[in-house]
């Protein structure tokens, strides 16, 4: 790829790209910390995670500002235009993931003061999968790798299945012992949050495919086999 004749423009596009990555890395870490707080029953860590969400929000606003400035001042075209519109949409998904991490931390705080009811083994596995999807979708973004992005879209089914299974497990748990309902419900929420993280990572991956190929694969029943 050749460089822009206008170096300022080139630098600003680079700044946009690195800001999206920075935001993505931060959000990934937020999920990890929130899950750690949940499994370790660490209220302080949960609180620290909640407090850090404002950094995600700040990046969201900054990236929006930069994208608007680029659109207004440089009349971007073709792949530059697709990069900027992708950044605008991707940050919305990242910001939502940040909120979900915050919610997980809130549930962690609530659960930490109650007795544990069930080894939360499936939730860390779901979290790993969701974080892995997010990580790979961001990798695909920075490397402009549409194949990697497509693989992320296909991985979403596994998380959905895990969520479904966890849902059944927790339902029977509650049926067996109604005293666990409030705790089981909170775990069920966490499962739903992680399932949503997978959805947002899929959205990001779909936008990456648009950015690279100029083709939208969103709102299909199944991701296409290849591009």
């Amino acid at each position: 790829m050749r460089l822009h004749t206008d170096r300022t423009y080139e630098l600003q596009l680079e700044k946009l790209r690195s800001s999206v990555l920075e935001m993505g890395g931060l959000v990934e870490d937020q999920i990890a910390q929130a899950m750690r707080a949940l499994t370790m029953r660490d209220r302080d860590l949960a609180q620290a995670t909640i407090a850090r969400d404002h950094m995600v929000n700040r990046l969201d606003v900054e990236i929006d500002d930069l994208a608007l400035k680029l659109l207004a001042l440089h009349q971007p075209a073709a792949r530059d235009l697709r990069l900027i519109t992708t950044a605008l949409k991707v940050t919305t998904d990242l910001e939502r993931i940040g909120d979900l991490a915050e919610h997980i931390a809130e549930r962690a705080q609530e659960l930490a003061v109650e007795l544990p009811i069930k080894p939360t083994i499936d939730l860390p596995r779901m979290a790993d999968l969701a974080r892995g999807m997010l990580h790979r979708s961001l990798d695909a973004f920075v490397r402009e790798d549409e194949k990697l992005a497509l693989a992320v879209c296909s991985a979403d089914d596994t998380i959905d299945q895990l969520h479904e299974q966890l849902f059944c497990d927790l339902i029977s748990f509650m049926a067996d012992d109604p005293r666990t309902v409030s705790r089981a419900m909170r775990l069920l929420f966490v499962s739903k949050y992680l399932e949503r993280v997978g959805d947002h990572a899929t959205n990001i991956a779909e936008m990456v495919i648009f950015m690279v190929k100029g083709r939208s694969i969103r709102h299909l029943d199944r991701p296409p086999r290849d591009l």
Binding site: D6, P76, A77, G214, R215
Partner: protein, 264 residues
């Protein structure tokens, strides 16, 4: 050549007004156009973009044989208008230029009244009837979105008009002989943004009746006014396609580099 045939595929339009094949132009030993093939859609706006010296103006001028009198020029290949080859010996270049009018970068009104500027073409073609001339002048000025601004001073010198008005006068003058095709060579590059917007608005209106080919260095202008965009580089047609596609997702990396400003 692969490039020409692949770009041609995207250029297929339902009804082509002008069909260009294998057009090669040399100025002496300099190759200005290299086997260009392009279909110009009927009542569509086709924009030609590319850096200076890429051949887009040469191409435009081949469409009404404005290049005929250039010394040392050699033109090969075919250009047909409504299926008739315009370089055929039987074709009268004056009649051809009536059907294929031209508007230039620098507005060039004659040092005559507004009325006489617009009536010039019809008079050259033999029209003398005063009433008919008045009708043509009014209709042409209306089509060029200039009538309301000049209707009370048709006898004033065209040179008293503003730059933007002069350019619209030149468009009216081109329309007065009822052409099929309008060629525009950077029609707004010397105008301020408001006059430019008026010309662009005018292009939108004119394309309901006329086939328009426009050369522009302003890529945003090409994006705004045209249906089809053709990218020229070093005398070759690199890519042609729907304007929206050229500016959001062009097929060729050379086009991508140019429309995104990665050049030189």
């Amino acid at each position: 050549m692969d490039m020409a045939s692949s770009t041609l595929a995207t250029a297929e339009v339902s009804s082509a007004k002008i069909v260009v094949r294998d057009l090669t132009v040399r100025y002496g030993s300099t190759l200005a156009l290299d086997r260009v093939a392009l279909d110009v859609g009927d009542r569509q706006v086709t924009a030609l973009i590319g850096p200076s010296g890429c051949g887009k103006s040469t191409f435009l001028r081949c469409l009404n044989r404005m290049n005929d009198h250039i010394r040392n020029i050699r033109i090969e290949g075919s250009v047909s208008l409504d299926g008739v080859s315009i370089y055929d010996a039987a074709v009268d270049p004056v009649e051809l230029r009536r059907r294929v009018g031209m508007v230039f970068q620098k507005s060039n009104p004659f040092p005559k009244s507004i009325f006489d500027n617009v009536a010039f073409g019809p008079r050259v073609h033999g029209l003398r009837d005063r009433v008919e001339l008045r009708e043509i002048v009014e209709r042409s000025l209306r089509q060029a979105a200039l009538w309301d601004e000049v209707k009370d001073r048709l006898d004033r010198s065209a040179l008293d008009l503003s730059g933007g008005q002069q350019q619209r006068l030149c468009i009216a003058r081109a329309l007065a002989v009822e052409p099929d095709v309008l060629l525009m060579d950077e029609p707004a590059s010397a105008l301020d943004p408001i006059a430019t917007a008026k010309i662009e608005e005018l292009i939108h209106e004119l394309k309901t009746q006329y086939t328009i080919v426009i050369v522009t260095h302003n890529m945003q202008q090409a994006a705004r006014v045209s249906d089809t965009t053709a990218y020229f580089y070093l005398g070759r047609l690199v890519e042609v396609g729907p304007t929206e596609q050229i500016f959001t997702n062009p097929s060729r990396p050379e086009t991508e580099d140019y429309v995104t400003g990665r050049f030189g």
